[in-house]
């Protein structure tokens, strides 16, 4: 049926058609374009007689010959928007700017598809139809683009899922409620509640604008109130009330600004010396730039490609010099090599990070604990893209610099840890993972596969004049490492691994042991 669809297009380029023929062909144009977007209109073609069919075929062949030979010149005269009651016209027209720039029929068809996709991506319309109409009779070679949208009848959507946020350093279950297009600018408002298995909780209110005053990139803002409970590992609890602004979000680059009032408290009063010095209030004003290049074929199970991500963060951007001043840099590099049998692939990953305070007296000042790096946890290094975070076999915040806690005067709590892990200013991790399918079809159909892995990582302190004790041989000497194998079950919410880990090397006070572990990860 494509032939009749293409048939009437040469008519706009024929300016001197008689009135009767023009009227008849105009009807054909509308019907054909509707067919292009919705195939329900095919019934209109049935009543045509044999002679009409023959004539259509002849015209289509002629059109195809012309299109193959040379581009058919056409110009967009106007963009007409219909069906929008709440949404502003300029919001829709901005998404279809690409249509206006088309100069040939071929470009126009491609641009229409792109515009349709863009409008659907706004997530505020139930359906979008783009038809091409003839332009004014006095302007030959022109066309009008008619956009017919149907706005969402129910602007509220709910969503539940699991996410891995780098700031929380743990998996969390999140539920969010979205309200779309309240003010007609394509805006999306969402309220979310997240709860993590490490007793972290966050309540957030966000807003997303696809276009902000004509800027091509979307604008996001979010007000959040979060608490993270690290009493068990580091003897402090963190509360933050903040505002986050997404300034630039393009394919590879992301720039965000974050300002937050952060409070560290120790309700247990068991903190070690370093943590005690960190308690109090801080104002964090930070700019964060992320460069991300991901060419892997999958984020849950990559078998081919590579990815690179770099995150730079600078804190202390405020006229008040009493805000928290720090620099933080993270990089992560992944590479996947297919091996050609059983869909096996070798995954390599190396990640590093460094943080340091800046300002007067920066060498002897301590870096802020929430900005430091912590390794370990029940997430998989394969999926945690973004920086050094996870090691198989090591518990959450289970390695690195540590200090003794306040001595206990009662012997009631025998299972209480006696040391605080205070985090590291520099961290490095690396892993290798060989994944392969099982021979059974049942497993292959469900994506269940096996893997063998090895990983290593370490941390060190630099602030408070400790960089003088930092040496590369010392860092290498105290590297932690583990190996193991396991079964991977990708589910609709997360990637679950059942692994047996064997700890090759660990240091005193590390919380790690050989045995079976379950990890849960989501693509980040």
């Amino acid at each position: 049926m494509e032939n009749p669809a293409e048939k009437p297009d040469p008519n706009p380029s024929k300016p001197k058609i008689e009135s009767e023929d023009e009227r008849e062909e105009l009807g054909d144009i509308n019907g054909d374009e509707e067919e292009e977007e919705e195939y329900e209109e095919e019934d209109d073609g049935k009543p045509r007689t044999r002679e009409d069919a023959i004539a259509d075929r002849i015209k289509a062949e002629s059109l195809f010959r012309r299109m193959r030979a040379t581009p058919v010149a056409v110009r967009v005269h106007d963009v007409i928007v219909k069906g929008n009651e709440k949404t502003k016209d300029h919001v829709i027209e901005a998404e279809v700017d690409v249509v206006r720039q088309a100069t040939t029929l071929q470009e126009l068809l491609k641009a229409s598809k792109v515009a349709n996709f863009n409008l659907q991506a706004l997530d505020i319309f139930d359906s979008v139809k783009i038809t091409l109409d003839s332009g004014p009779p006095e302007l030959p070679g022109t066309t009008n683009v008619v956009i017919d949208v149907v706005e969402s009848k129910s602007p509220i959507t709910g969503q539940i899922g699991t996410f891995t946020k780098a700031e929380a350093r743990s998996s969390s279950l999140e539920g969010s409620l979205k309200y779309k297009n309240i003010f007609g600018y394509g805006d999306i408002w969402d309220g979310s509640l997240a709860y993590g298995c490490d007793h972290s909780a966050e309540v957030g209110l966000g807003m997303y604008l696809p276009r902000f005053r004509g800027r091509p990139t979307p604008f996001t803002s979010r007000v959040y109130l979060s608490t993270q409970d690290w009493l068990k590992f580091s003897s402090y609890k963190e509360r933050a009330l903040g505002l986050s602004l997404g300034l630039i979000a393009s394919k590879y680059h992301e720039l965000a600004y974050n300002i937050a009032w952060r409070n560290l408290i120790d309700p247990s009063q068991m903190a070690s010396r370093s943590i005690r010095r960190q308690l109090g209030h801080n104002l964090v004003s930070a700019l964060k730039y992320t460069f991300k290049f991901d060419q892997r074929n999958s984020s849950l199970r990559p078998t081919r490609g590579y990815s690179f991500i770099s995150t730079s963060q600078i804190g202390g951007l405020a006229p008040d010099s009493r805000t928290l001043r720090f620099l933080r840099q993270e990089i992560d590099l992944r590479y996947a090599v297919p091996l050609g049998f059983y869909r096996a692939a070798l995954n390599f990953g190396i990640a590093g990070g460094i943080t340091f305070p800046w300002g007067s007296g920066y060498k002897s000042r301590a870096s802020c604990v929430p900005e430091r790096f912590f390794l370990g946890g029940n997430i998989s290094p394969v999926c945690s893209l973004g920086g050094p975070s996870a090691l198989w076999g090591f518990k959450t915040r289970g390695l690195g610099p540590n200090e003794p806690r306040r001595e206990v005067q009662d012997d009631e709590s025998g299972d209480t840890y006696e040391r605080d892990f205070v985090g590291g200013d520099v961290a490095v991790t690396a892993f290798a993972d060989l994944s392969f399918d099982f021979p059974l079809k049942w497993f292959r159909d469900r994506g269940i596969h096996g893997h063998v892995f090895a990983c290593a990582g370490n941390m060190a302190e630099l602030s408070e004049n400790k960089y003088r004790n930092f040496t590369a041989p010392k860092l290498l000497e105290t590297f932690r490492s583990s190996v193991g194998a396991g079964i991977v079950v990708p589910t609709s919410l997360f990637r679950m691994e059942l692994n047996y880990c064997h700890i090759l090397k660990k240091q005193e006070h590390d919380r790690a042991k050989s045995g079976f572990f379950m990890t849960f990860s989501t693509s980040s």
């Binding site: 005690r276 209030h281 008040d320 609709s492 997360f494």
Partner: protein, 315 residues
Amino acid sequence: MEGDQETNVYTLVARKPSFDLPTACPNCLPAYIYLKLAQLPFELAFNSTFPDSDELPYFESDTYVAYNNEDGGVIEKLKKDGIVNLDSQLQSLSDYLSLKALIVSWLEEALTYEIWVGTEGISTSKIYYSDLPWVISKVLFYKQTYLAKNRLGITKENAEQREKQIYKRASEAYEALSTRLGEQKFLFEDRPSSLDAFLLSHILFIIQALPVTSVLRCKLLEHSNLVRYAEKLKSEFLEASSSSPSPPLHSFPSSFPRKSSKPKSKPKVEKTEEEKKFKKRARFFLAAQFLAVVIYVSVMGGGSSDELEYEDEDD
């Protein structure tokens, strides 16, 4: 034990100095002066980002910590744990407790009122908020003012009445203390005590930290012997610390017995442990249920796996 004692480093963590005081915090100054009166060598460290903490000041030595919100305060805890006790021979005296109640209750109340309400918090920015950003300072100031009024029992209805009562009690306390002190060097003749630390810090703070328009300051200055007492001890113990008198006034105990100060009752502990176990089991059960449902939906549903593979290919 002397070796251990020598290697031990004592640290008092307080708020920042200001107004020519080693620490401008009215809660931290008594602890500082107490350690100076005891001539215990210690280091001073500062925390300037926690104005609303009731843990400050705290005393630490290796893993030993004495917080201000435990056991009646740092000074009381240092006594109980045997670190330093200036009152070991005075607690049996009849007027010790009455003087202590007078200082710790009435004067403390008057000082809190004067800092937050009487002078409308003029001095608080230097005491508590000098290292905090402006926004956080404002919010915490209103919060602490509100809490101070609550603690003093001040409402809109009884503000005037309460103010009169507080100042009247302060005047009576100054009168009684002035009479008691006379021209002695310390409250108990020639021996320093924790009450001297409290009283000295109270007087020094009022004279140096509060503005000249302070009502409490005017009432204090009416008793000249209290002012002379403060100036004399200040020059002797706080300013000329390098040339302290050669014989120590108090010998330190050879050992530091650290007994449990608050033994908890066993039934309570057992109940708590049982509750913890129950909560852990309930949480584990819920997690297992959730996991089972997710795995069943993902593994048993053939369509979803196809979709998953499709998504993988797209990625």
